[in-house]
Symmetry: C2
Subunit: 353 residues, 2 copies
């Protein structure tokens, strides 16, 4: 296919034919690469910095602490209820910055495309990625595209690196949990993982499950503005779910965490799907919620701040930090029974992000 034809087919106004697919040559650095860049990536991701098309991007920073986070996304399927690999890749790296108390500023994007991916699907995902980045107000400033042969990839993998700056007053860290802290979650748990399972056709109840994938920075900023340095820990419980996130925090801070079973905001459809598959919602990945540790007397104020934004509307107090059983997370039932919530040895749900 000539570059000119490719260009025409990739423009948003012209539907893609079923025969238009990514070829190895699109990763060559030659004319096909240039066409893909100009016809797909720049229209959806374009901004003045990206448009310079150098070997990289130049941005200005004030003196201070720069925060950097990188993530590769290999989620399967590429498109799922509530999002796709493009929006997920944006939210994922921005959220990692937010969890460190950093205001996101810039994103990079690296694409590894499997030969044969339709240009229509690539276009749809890059469009979604651009929309998520614009909604968050964060430009994709530089990128890279590689193509691998059919059977050597799985449609599309995306790496994003997020770069931000420390937000004034924010100093959260996984090692700052203290006995007496309250443990909050910003929204209902288990939605992303179960939406992915549903999209894989593993369930009979696809209808109600939707990923929670979202940019968490506006919620975090609200909390930092209100609680400042009293915001001890922020963590988005992605791979491994709430259980893994809390275990990491308990270990890093050498404290115990007690979760109250009845307080966990688990949507009915997540519970039902987990029961059907024999999964524990505490280990299911999330992409649009986070856990907050702050001194107990500030918990009410933190909940008020979270609930003031739609994304935090279902924020809840779910537990507390204790000096007992340091390094361990314990789930307490209404009847007072306790069980240890351990790290899983391996994977409950592979390729979830």
């Amino acid at each position: 296919m000539a570059a000119a034809t490719l260009g025409a087919n990739l423009s948003c106004a012209v539907p893609h034919g079923p025969g238009d697919r990514v070829q190895l040559g699109h990763g060559s650095g030659g004319k096909l690469s240039a066409a893909l860049l100009k016809q797909c990536f720049l229209p959806h991701l374009g901004n003045p910095i990206l448009a310079q098309l150098g070997d990289g991007a130049v941005v200005s920073v004030e003196a201070g602490e720069v925060v950097v986070s990188t993530d590769s996304f290999v989620v399967s399927p590429l498109v799922f209820p509530g999002g796709d690999i493009g929006s997920l890749a944006v939210h994922g790296s921005l959220n990692d910055l937010a969890m460190m108390g950093a205001e996101p500023r810039w994103l990079t994007a690296g694409f590894i495309i499997e030969e044969g991916l339709t240009l229509a699907e690539l276009d749809r995902i890059v469009q979604s990625m651009g929309a998520a980045a614009r909604a968050a107000g964060i430009p994709v400033i530089t990128g890279d595209t590689k193509v691998v042969e059919r059977g050597k990839g799985d449609g599309l993998f995306i790496n994003t690196t997020g770069i931000g700056v420390r937000y004034a007053g924010a100093r959260p860290g996984p090692d700052r949990a203290c006995p007496g802290d309250a443990v909050l979650v910003s929204g209902p748990i288990g939605r992303h993982g179960m939406a992915i399972m549903a999209a894989r056709g593993s369930l009979g109840l696809e209808g109600n499950l939707e990923s929670d994938s979202a940019c968490l920075w506006p919620l975090v900023r609200g909390l930092v503005d209100q609680l400042g340095d009293e915001l001890h820990v922020l963590r988005d419980p992605t791979r491994g779910g709430i259980a893994s996130a809390l275990n990491e925090i308990a270990a890093a801070s050498r404290v115990g965490v007690v979760l109250e079973d009845g307080l966990l905001p688990i949507p009915a459809e997540v519970n039902a799907a987990c029961e059907m598959l024999g999964l524990d919602p505490l280990y299911v990945a999330n992409e649009g919620i986070f856990v907050v540790f702050c001194p107990e007397p500030l918990a009410t104020e933190a909940l008020r701040v979270l609930r003031a934004q739609p994304l935090g509307g279902q924020a809840a107090l779910v537990g507390r930090v204790v000096a007992d059983h340091p390094g361990f997370v314990v789930l307490e039932t209404a009847l007072g029974a306790q069980r240890v919530v351990d790290l899983l040895p391996g994977d409950q749900l592979p390729r979830i992000c």
Copy 2:
């Protein structure tokens, strides 16, 4: 395999058994992930920033221009004469920064591992990556690991994002070539691409071909210190080779470029291998050289600076910039004949980096 066993097998002192392979669970965010991190990634890549193991890394910068570059590496095979995907991923992103006149400071690393890769091979590659980063003096400050099912990847893909700061006096850009500029290359051309072809077993003369993969920043710094703002263009001719790099510069600067055939430093073994495969060395990828455009009166000084370091020992003047035929690169033979060196439509050598 229990995490403890995995840990023992991954330690450098203990050889890996043939049965020790990456499993899906190593990408889960659970115990196996933690073991892989602690037993393979941290020993080879470790530094005080990476060791904090947060959602990202925090570094301090002075006010000014920060330069960011990202690249995914999908080279096949993973190990080749002169390097491997690990050292290549370090050099590639550092070189992109150097080409923008930026002093490299930090790297991120994202790994996409195919289930079944042996832990011994992963360990070897991460070790090589760590050695390359240490040799360049640049820490890997944050990273990410994902595992995909057998047949959904190709052993290992690595994304690196390089972050640097503008080096005082450096302002190179692909749009700054001027008629009257000399065109130099810092070393012999075509070595990386042909080493990869040899490693694929496509040739009968594997013995002499070795990738040029190297960190170019020390050479670039020497040039900037000497030529400052007179250093008009720097570009590392990776995918698409010298031909593609010069075409991009000619287009961006709206100038013509004339290469003199007899001046191009093409090693005899590269020439022989290219002839055997029907390839043009001008389109073969390089990973350890760069092209330099500077005013012709400064060319001798630039060559002196390049040749003062072993990596630049074979630096050569290869052409000139003209006002004629803007946007086109022309190769001139000793007899005065000219042919246009165009961009290739697609790929000469896929999966070269």
